[in-house]
């Protein structure tokens, strides 16, 4: 198929940036979206132009590196996939596809479609861990039984890949699904209880300091999340935060 691509080009963080049109031809419907981008880039390199910069790594939907806003949706029109798992059969011959970087004040553009998501790392530094040393002297793994339900729910929250689609898609650029998932994972496990109060207060404070917006419960993040992280995790974080605020 032949396509027109409208792609955001921005040389660096200080550049103003603009949308630029490109044509690609003979795209196979079996290609992944990123392979289509590879075709475009090979074409650009061979004609002496600069290729479009975009983040990508594992290309199997788990590293969370790829991040494109395609035709107005994070990771494109398919559900439960990252951009690298999106296939060209979702598009038709002659389509015009608009491709933009994640847009959020807390995710500044580095170049073209590449954004800086280090705000997520800093939120994790504020409390995304359990303080246990790797001495090899911790108690036996089976010393504390954990109900299957709690373990499964913690696992569901922990499947977050940190891609930032929740922020990108939220009309408020809120990071609450991301933070809620991490807070929930530890809140559901006995190991996480000891530091629960400080964790949620510190992580939320850091989230606010990074300039993410506030959650207005539109639920868009849950729909666009490639891993299907539930809004339940935001509600749990809200509870954790309120009870921590009362204690603290």
């Amino acid at each position: 198929m032949n396509l027109t691509l409208k792609i955001w080009r921005q040389e660096n963080a200080n550049d103003k940036g603009k949308m630029v049109d490109y044509k690609v031809t003979e795209i196979s419907e079996h290609m992944s979206f990123l392979e289509m981008m590879d075709v475009l880039n090979e074409q650009l390199v061979n004609s002496g132009e600069e290729p479009v910069a975009f983040d990508h790594d594992c290309r199997e939907g788990i590293c969370g590196m790829c991040s494109m806003y395609i035709n107005g949706e994070a990771h494109g029109p398919d559900r439960g996939v990252t951009t690298c798992q999106l296939h060209m059969r979702m598009f038709k011959d002659g389509d015009t596809i608009t491709i933009e970087p994640w847009r959020a004040a807390a995710f500044p553009v580095i170049k073209d479609l590449v954004v800086d998501r280090s705000a997520f790392d800093r939120i994790q530094h504020a409390g995304g861990y359990i303080s246990v040393n790797t001495s090899g002297n911790t108690q036996d793994a089976n010393a504390i039984p954990i109900s299957k339900e709690a373990a499964d729910k913690a696992m569901d929250a922990a499947t977050c890949i940190g891609c930032g689609a929740c922020v990108a898609t939220c009309k408020n650029s809120s990071a609450m699904l991301f933070v809620g998932a991490k807070v929930s994972q530890y809140a559901l496990l006995p190991q996480g209880q000891v530091e629960a109060t400080d964790r949620v207060l510190n992580m939320v404070a850091q989230m606010d300091a990074e300039g993410f917006g506030n959650c207005t419960n539109t639920g868009a993040c849950e729909v666009e999340c490639p891993k299907g992280i539930s809004l339940e995790n935001i509600a749990r974080m809200n509870r954790e935060f309120l009870s921590a605020s009362l204690k603290g």
């Binding site: 590449v114 861990y129 696992m155 190991q191």
Partner: protein, 665 residues
């Protein structure tokens, strides 16, 4: 230089304990004055960074990704082995050790593997304490899976995302230390050289991938945890950015490179669909429990299927060649990974591949659906079930077992595997070879360590399933933190390492010149053009099976390709910006050297062992034939061109295990 593996004396089971009791320690106050650089933040690098920082060292960690959490360990699916014996099925440290050595086709180092088995149980304790949500049973205790043909259930798992959960555990431990300021994190940075001062590794030259700035970083020791080199094949299950540059740079500065020809090629991956393919996706090996593998018997049917005139479901049973069942009646579709991979390649080379590229075979669940369907009909007392009833009942069972894999397949290939057979083909998955290290995990450069997939030590010629995660975390959490202390104990009075020495100057100059070259070359071909060509040579001639002629050709072709690359490569853009093509050019330049050494190593290894299959060395039944005189580690010393590399042999002694033939029949 003679190789000294520094294996402690004494009985196997006491070696590690005795070793720990007698090494030098660094007191906590002195640790504050010692810096350690860790390159790579996967399971090995992440766990090492966190632990070293907890101990009190100042750690500088480097990742080419935008966050430590994205290292490719995250993609591991199945699980992690540990000799916990929670199931009471007779598992023990010795049994895990034995399975690992045997699985590695008797080409790994006994003492290292035993230590790995010993610390494996600690890993699970540690990860649970960190909040890793391993699967549990209804009683709230940890659940286990059985894996990869061993006789016990010792694999711990977190759905199909065990690697992700373990990596996020290590990442969380890192975060705690980053918050304390004990780890300084350099994301989007790439190590481009190691700096050696007075014979010791004392720092690295790194490039900031965003600004292009070349930076000097000094430390008292350098740990390379940069993963494997599977991307030398261009197509593999590795991440796009996975590269051998850090490992290769230390090799060029004096670290020996061991067993480069040992590569694991996984039989069940989704095949390539065209030349644009950038990456291959693994499908769990468990599918072979119920799927039957076949290609058409006649060439006409093959052509008809390729041209879309026939569908695989149109072929009757006697028009199908269930070649694994034909060739291996005893094991059938459940032959080991390497055998299954080679058999698929054999059929496709003979022209029977079933997709447009000619590189795919069928994995068919029709029989399984029928079998389960009839079984269910009996259980449900349906006396005369219709075809549809049988199909529906059978499909439900298959869905319960493999539903998520079928869905993933459908997303990628857009075919419903319940209705039509899956197409699969082998793909490069893991490299057992790597930087040579002694028992301390130190390379042949003093003060330079290699851990995780980047080293060679634990998996011999073939890695068992669920062992990679175990090794990465064992090295990082429990082995390196001890062994590196023994070395650093001599450095308590050294003080900060200056970065303005002539050695740093020279290393930086070398790196800068190479970058200048790429930017100014303005050649005719893109970096990917060369990478794809290299990948094709590697796959065709150093792939699942190898022979002398092919390997000799590969050596010549790769060296010619390398010469062409240095003349005609085209890198757009500038050196002072985010420039992925530039970063890639450096990585491919290193692969172009590594590939040749790989072929050379495969050429001298005149035997078949594990993932290395030499066509000249097989039994009458076409099985791998190991040869006693090759019971050594080949460690290569860099001498300029790969063809000049010098071979050093580390003989492998098996004192606690009897070396036997691996029989598949």
């Amino acid at each position: 230089m003679a190789l000294d593996s520094k294996i402690p004396k004494g009985p196997l089971k006491d070696k590690w304990t005795d070793y720990k009791n007698h090494i030098d320690l660094v007191n906590p106050a002195n640790k504050r004055n010692i810096d350690v650089i860790v390159v790579g933040t996967g399971l090995a690098g992440g766990s090492a960074s966190a632990t070293l920082a907890e101990l009190g060292y100042n750690v500088k960690a480097f990742a080419y990704q935008d966050s430590p959490r994205r290292a490719h360990s995250i993609a591991a699916q199945g699980g992690i082995n540990a000799a916990k014996n929670y199931q009471g099925d007779g598992d023990s440290t010795y049994r895990l050790f034995y399975d690992t050595v045997k699985g590695g086709d008797y080409r790994s180092r006994e003492a290292n593997v035993y230590r790995l088995a010993e610390v494996s149980a600690n890993i699970i304790d540690q990860c649970v304490a960190q909040g890793v949500p391993f699967a549990r049973d209804y009683g709230g205790l940890l659940d286990n899976r059985s894996f990869g043909g061993v006789l016990v259930s010792r694999t711990f798992y977190a759905k199909g995302q065990t690697g992700q959960q373990l990596l996020l555990g290590a990442y969380s431990a890192m975060n705690r230390q980053i918050a304390r300021g004990k780890i300084e994190m350099f994301n989007r940075h790439e190590m481009l050289d190691v700096v050696i001062v007075d014979g010791k590794a004392r720092g690295i030259i790194a490039r900031d991938l965003v600004t292009g700035e070349i930076e000097r970083h000094s430390a008292h020791a350098v740990v390379v945890a940069s993963g494997g080199y599977g991307n030398v094949y261009f197509l593999s299950t590795n991440a796009m950015g996975s590269n051998a540059t850090a490992a290769w740079k230390i090799h060029k500065k004096g670290a020996y490179f061991a067993n480069p020809c040992y590569t694991q090629i996984h039989p069940t991956c989704i095949p390539r669909s065209g030349d644009y393919q950038s990456k291959l996706t693994l499908m769990s090996e468990s599918l072979r429990n119920d799927g039957r593998i076949w290609v058409p018997k006649s060439m006409e049917d093959v052509m008809a299927i390729r041209e879309g005139r026939k569908k695989p479901t149109d072929l009757s049973e006697d028009e199908r060649d269930y070649y694994l069942e034909r060739r291996y009646p005893a094991f059938g579709n459940l032959v080991p990974r390497d055998v299954a991979s080679r058999a698929a390649k054999e059929r496709c080379d003979a022209g029977y591949g079933v997709n447009a590229t000619g590189e795919a075979v069928y994995l068919d669940f029709k029989s399984a659906i029928q079998r389960y369907g009839k079984e269910q009909a009996k259980i449900k007392h349906i006396s005369k079930p219709t075809e549809k009833q049988i199909y529906d009942l059978g499909k439900d069972i298959v869905k319960a077992k493999y539903g998520n894999l079928f869905q993933m397949y459908e997303k990628i290939v857009d075919q419903n595997p319940y209705e039509t057979p899956m197409m699969i083909y082998p793909a490069v998955h893991y490299t057992m070879g790597g930087v040579w290290v002694d028992y301390n995990l130190m390379t042949t450069i003093p003060g330079c360590y290699a851990i995780g997939e980047a080293n060679f030590s634990d998996h011999g010629a073939n890695r068992l399933g669920a062992s990679a995660l175990m090794q990465g975390l064992a090295d990082g959490y429990f082995v390196l933190p001890y062994t590196i202390g023994d070395y650093l104990a001599d450095d308590i009075r050294t003080g900060k390492i200056a970065t303005d020495s002539p050695e740093f100057e020279a290393a930086e100059k070398e790196v800068s010149e190479r970058i200048e070259f790429f930017i100014n070359n303005k050649g005719t071909h893109s970096v990917d053009y060369y990478h794809k060509k290299l990948g094709k040579i590697m796959w065709d001639k150093c792939g699942m099976s190898r022979n002398e002629t092919g390997l000799k050709e590969a050596i010549i072709e790769i060296s010619e390709l390398r010469a062409d690359f240095w003349k005609n490569v085209n890198v757009p853009g500038t050196a002072t910006e985010y420039n992925e093509q530039l970063a890639k050019a450096g990585r491919v330049a290193d692969f172009l050297e590594l590939g040749e050494l790989f072929a050379k190593d495969a050429l001298i290894r005149e035997e078949s062992a594990g993932g290395h299959f030499r066509e000249e060395f097989q039994t009458e039944d076409g099985e791998a034939k190991r040869i006693k005189e090759f019971q050594f580690v080949s460690a290569w010393e860099y001498k300029g061109e790969p063809k000049d590399a010098i071979l050093h042999k580390e003989e492998l002694a098996y004192e606690n295990i009897e070396v036997k033939e691996r029989s598949y029949k």
